[in-house]
Symmetry: C2
Subunit: 253 residues, 2 copies
């Protein structure tokens, strides 16, 4: 991870929080850190600003800042600003809008490639959970080929609440799951707002999100090797939507 994407050390993190001019992904605190007044202050400032803090082991912190000068505290900074889901919904009222929801995707290259495909396919927003999976970091930014700057990136504390908000606002919810019965290409994507949920690399989509989904679809395979990379799976579904749009609206492209 590049240095401009983290702030480490107790005082530096307190200063960054007080300055309040950067976008934080989350703050990692060693579970061995003595809970001194500075750590308490960091937790307090983070809570006030709605920034997630997580307790992790020292090894994790040493991986991120190998020189060991982190004093048990590392704040991860985002290269982009996140926007609020309600603001996003409001902004796109009255137009057909597509969003992609990543349920804990863990590999930065995958997240970057997915965002790139989203922008190509006219998807307007991407929703990431604040506690699981990766948020936007410099690897995501680079792998996205700059696409992170052409899409609204929405960070939420609860994907369940986010999906419910979307449903209340006339979004259909589509989940990609390889146990599904229906094929992804049997949906007509052209006439609706939708949120497409893609699951984590190994765990797939959480049960609570599957329950909220209006459509659960699979990508059929021609062999028994049933294991697509998640960014490839997202691209396949999104470009089926694009295919339908192009076929419907004639040769405009």
């Amino acid at each position: 991870m590049e240095n401009n994407t983290i702030v480490y050390g107790k005082n530096a993190v307190i200063e960054a929080l007080e300055a309040n001019n950067r976008t934080f992904n989350k703050i990692l605190i060693s579970n061995n850190a003595h809970s001194d007044s500075k750590i308490e202050k960091i937790k307090e400032l983070a809570s006030k600003q709605g920034i997630v803090f997580q307790f992790v082991n020292m090894q994790k912190l040493n991986q991120i800042e190998p020189e060991g000068r982190h004093q048990g505290v590392i704040a991860q900074i985002s290269p982009v600003k996140y926007i609020e889901l309600d603001d996003f919904i409001e902004k796109h009222k009255g137009e057909l809008t597509k969003v992609v929801v990543l349920d804990g995707v863990e590999d930065s290259h995958n997240v970057g490639a997915i965002i790139r495909s989203c922008v190509c396919a006219g998807v307007k927003g991407i929703i990431l959970p604040s506690r699981r999976g990766v948020l936007i970091n410099s690897t995501v930014e680079k792998t996205s080929a700059g696409a992170v700057n052409h899409i609204s990136i929405i960070k939420v504390n609860s994907l369940v609440n986010a999906i419910q908000r979307l449903k209340e606002n006339d979004y259909w919810v589509i989940a990609s799951d390889h146990h599904a019965k229906d094929n992804y290409f049997n949906i007509d994507y052209t006439n609706m707002n939708f949120a497409l949920i893609m699951g984590a690399e190994h765990a797939g989509i959480s049960r609570s999100l599957l329950k909220l989904s209006d459509f659960v679809v699979k990508i059929p395979m021609l062999t028994n090797f049933n294991s697509l990379n998640v960014s490839n799976a997202a691209a396949i579904i999104l470009f089926e939507m694009v295919r339908q749009e192009v076929e419907k609206n004639g040769k405009k492209k």
Copy 2:
């Protein structure tokens, strides 16, 4: 790169070549290496066995073997065996066969993800040029989730010759190029042998290969952000083929 994927040092490389029980990707020789009798022997043995050797700068060698014990010579070992194009063609005579040709794709993660999608989509072979782009290494193997073991991997010295051989054997050649006029979904993929050519991340497909192609197709976008990751682009085209197969053959999957 893991240690079991390289052999370095003059004597070790000579021994590996003489033992002749491993699959070599290529041999990298420092362009500052004194052309002594051992280097000459390495070049001679490599030539005899049809193994490519390339002259590179010391920096490249130091990246691959950072401890600097390589003496100006590193042999890259493949975790898989390559097969000959003619053997592949012969093996699949009489069945509809699909292959993917990578024209110098440089990122191991992309090659791994493409091979994974290929196996899911029933593609039988993947063709890689011996001198440009990546061959099969441990990162490709890992990113492919083991798919490298479920597909024929064909390494060729000339992609032009390979494409010509395929055409002589009733393969249609499809090139993916974003300058194309035709959309990829207007081809009927279900009734032919085909070779799908995907270009390098930045350079795209070589002109000589475009000239040999029967179809040049693009993936239309819904925005001006015209820049898909190459593994996503490959997945989109291959799974349009799968969609057509599934639609044609009913609900067998």
